[in-house]
Symmetry: D2
Subunit: 360 residues, 4 copies
């Protein structure tokens, strides 16, 4: 293998830069050259390639010409996009031709399950081996216990919960804090445990608005209407729960209007959770998965994803990188989002048990 | 002076705990005992007083019984509230009587201009000297260049801008980021300079929705529709600008619908900006203003605020604490919010000049 | 089971408070009361027990009387110590008697391998079931892929590396950064990968001072003495490497004295890495391991540790909590520190491969 | 004015990049081109100039080609150095000639008092106007209440104090924490107030080792040897205090050897305090001082520094930028470091009063 291309696609995730940087460094050590496609599959289709050499790490003004600092930055310096053209066979054919012209004999795609679906299609339509690396703050990629970006996103959420708790405790307030997650409640659930939230609302829960309100009202009465009441109530809600956050807060306020001094506020974290410097864990798995992807390409494996995998076989081994066919990954992803996956069931079970006293 | 009371009132601000802690410590060194009124003026009216002694710093389980860590925490451990009863003479009379029964011969009120208005009224109706300390993340208290909490709030906003910029640059996006500030655009303006924002929208600007949209559209066309376009456009908007943030974004999107790949997103920081550990500056001025307040009480001064004051007289002096009659402070506050104050004019002038290339 | 005791022992680790808090909350939901022994085994021997009730979460001044914020704080509010008396049979007998008098019928010990050795001895000498939870920033506890505190420590180190890199790049400097780890190089190695360090020095490497200097000299010449040189060289060294950090820097400076403008600086992070708010991951596993420990006690299991375990059997499961006899854990720990454990070998192998271009 | 040069010199300070960025942006708006001299005065002498255009903000891969993120980064991307050649008239003559050849008709020097001494000499020996901007984490530049970098450094120190306090409280320990400051104790003193330290050791204090030990011993006995003792003792020491930190700790340990369980640890923050993203305040004053410097150059003023100045004349004005002759600034700096300046005296007086109960 002489030359590989790398791209980042879909929603950006902290740690994407660390993965690209590790690919550049590891490839240089093996005398493989690397080009980056700009702005995801768009760059692949349009042939917008940038040479990414280890020499970028050396000389000139710092930090612009020295790229080692890139590994510690948020976002993706290659740019990203959602690319409808790539969903069409013509777009993918154009991309394959561009790679061929540029002498690219291997492609690494870093992104979430949508982007990896594209990678799967391309892998079956072109001669160049294609390997995926899961990166998505929602942790909604099957076949990998962690996607790049999840740990950073959760730390950002936890820190936001700490801040909100500061002001909530000062005024003895309830807050509904909404986090990303259209189909997966993972971020909400995991954050609720770590932030000692009082309740969590997930898309996977089959509750209608009235049922939710019943339970939240009960929580607020229990928490605030007693002699020795709590100082703050924190309710974490996933974006994918159908009832809008503001509506929920308004109706909840009406229901507890008889309680003196109880107020309900909302905060939507939104895109705030995408940014920020990647944590240790995201930088580490970025490096490890980059190595796995390069190894897979050198073995001329294609149509696979390298996943961060919990151990198989013995309990004395570390978590490690494994290779999963992209097709299997996509099946697993669907189950994850349906709630029919063992992982989802186990996550829900264990986490709910830890919470113990959670209302919902 | 034998015994003083302290309370925190209105919206909480990071650094309130540092001020209370400094009062406890400094009073102990002067053999003055301190009680805290719980939840602002409510605690004063209801006689909910807690003894706050330096011994809280010693013994028992850490950190619960050792309070020196308090100075570094967000929110207010005394609790806060907005207290309609205190707006009535009867409420204030009740508070005065409670203080008298408790042997309190001095009161320190830590809060924003609403809370200090209450302090001013009380000072004129009771025998106990009353001194105010400005604490409000909005920096909307006249007579003090900095209120406690402003520096922390601005650092929180800057960090949020950095995060949002990470994801904006990845997708070449425009973001409208809304910060607190109903009548004062200070947070928005100061943050815009420090975060190298591309535009800022303030309540002090007499622009209607169409004028704002004209200018933002022009900004987006200039930024994104050229050969070598910008990676992110950041627009900071103060809460007090009448046009709702979501509406602005929707109409802006329509106006630039002809531009490929340009998307406009929003984020409302809201209460996130209230919390968090106070910065160095807020901890420092909290300590310095606490000292000033104690000195003022010991001199039996009343109806004043101690302000963080830029220097008067010579350029070789440090910023320092000064004493301002509360009535003067309230007049100055009104001017500040009207935009007729010299400070507002100067802030606007200087900041706008620095921005230089700002569209709005 | 009616009443359990909990203690934290040995070096403090961020997340210990989250574990204690989860134990209080989960025990309350099962009507089990909890006492905390102050300052580790010392409190057990002296019968210094504090009742820890969920009511601590409610009422009174915030945050002092509401303990849910505790889960997000560093250190251990129960206090910790190294306790020589507990190494003697008399000390342990006294502790057993104190527990019996206090009606304690279960003990949870949160600490590193030294503290868990004590737990193992006690478990075999008394009637009360004893369960351990691994907490140690060094990640040197066998039988658990992660100890509580490791993730926070690594994030603190990474952030320090980012700061040091800022100043190093400004002056084109080499820095030797020392991190904790007397017998285990895990922190150094993992941090080196995530921080894109240029070299790492571990106690597990059989290199003498001259060999280390040869390799570091070569690294500096390669990095700085070429036309397009690097901006910073970052060398991470574990505390356990016998050559003192300052000596290494001094001798290295002498060796490259012929190179213009090359300077070598040192920084010892030391105890800085122990403190700080626990990360998401440490708060999460603290909660999960607390649940595991409580379950183990309720099943009247004794002389075990609950470990954070990578998956066994299938790749569709999440990492999960498992139960390991303390004796097995201690054997595994020795291997870990000897470098004869499979885990050590695998860690070294994988991490070194990722680094790829690392000099050492 | 058509073209100006900018350089950063001496120890790097967070906010230098924000100042350079503001100069680029503001100059572009006035059609002035900007070149950066690499690595301080070395770049000036050797004619290593880089064009710095606002177009750097546009196009290409993000963030490499878009420089607006630069304002939020630590260190200095222009590089810095201490330059002995510039202390000689020949070096300065060479620099003047290089500027002349490059068509540079204005120079902005960003640095501490050493670098500004160089600027003063150059200003008097060449035709090009020279303006200085104070940047130094030590806050040891006369004529400016704040130098760029001081606020960030203090926030880094405060955060380190919080971390150290976490672990100190867990074990009931005393820590001596050393911060930068060879001749100025400002960082130590200001940090001590904000971090609620128990003692502070400054180079300005005329105490010998025995006197220091007497007072620290007394502090430890008072703090730890009573029935209800403190959880942590924090002693902040400036680098410039002659007694080495380790020696102090060792001798202190000996003196309190009779106290059970009292341990004394040390931590030297060193270069850690130089790095990190600049705070709001440092980004703000960087922008404001950049504007002041550009205005001064356009007015063809030379041999001056623009300082962040507390207000003169009225208390209704904001802090603002003023222009100080470099010669006056240097006189003021000497007084600052001698301790004969009014500012030093006032700082010491006020801060000591706030501390109140400080032992030293």
């Amino acid at each position: 293998m002489r030359k590989i291309a790398v791209l980042t696609s879909g929603g950006d995730a902290p740690g994407m830069n660390a993965a690209v940087w590790a690919i550049i460094k590891l490839a240089a050590a093996r005398d493989i050259s690397v080009v980056g496609a700009e702005a995801g599959y768009d760059g692949l289709i349009d042939g917008n390639f940038q040479e990414l050499t280890r020499e970028l790490d050396e000389g000139g003004l710092a930090p612009v010409s020295g790229l080692d600092w890139l590994a510690g930055t948020g976002g993706t310096f290659l740019g990203s996009s959602r690319c409808p053209r790539f969903m069409e066979p013509e777009g993918r054919a154009e991309a394959a031709q561009r790679m061929s012209h540029a002498g690219v004999d291997g492609l690494i795609v870093i992104g979430g399950n949508g982007s990896l679906t594209g990678a799967h299609l391309l892998a079956n339509e072109c001669d160049v081996p294609v390997v995926g690396i899961p990166a998505s703050i929602d942790n909604d990629v099957g076949g990998s216990t962690d996607a790049i970006g999840v740990d950073t996103a959760l730390n950002t959420i936890i820190e936001a919960c700490d801040r909100i708790s500061d002001t909530a405790r000062s005024h003895q307030r309830a807050f509904i804090l909404e986090v990303m997650g259209r189909r997966s409640g993972y971020l909400a659930m995991a954050a609720a445990v770590a932030a000692t939230a009082d309740a969590v609302l997930l898309p996977e829960q089959p509750l209608d608005t009235d049922e939710i309100l019943d339970q939240l009202e009960s929580l607020l009465r229990r928490s605030f209407a007693t002699d020795r009441s709590k100082r703050r109530v924190l309710i974490i809600k996933a974006e994918g729960v159908p009832t809008p956050t503001l509506l929920l807060a308004d109706q909840l306020k009406e229901r507890v209007a008889d309680l003196d001094n109880v107020s309900v506020r909302t905060i939507v974290l939104g895109h705030l959770v995408r940014g920020g410097h990647p944590t240790f864990h995201d930088r580490l798995i970025a490096g490890r998965l980059a190595l796995g992807a390069l190894d897979a390409l050198e073995a001329r494996t294609t149509d696979v994803m390298v996943g961060w995998q919990s151990n198989i076989g013995t309990k004395t081994q570390d978590p490690q990188v494994s290779t999963v066919p992209l097709a299997d990954m996509l099946v697993e992803t669907e189950k994850l989002l349906d709630g029919t996956s063992d992982v989802t069931a186990m996550r829900m079970h264990l986490i709910r048990e830890v919470q113990g006293v959670l209302a919902l």
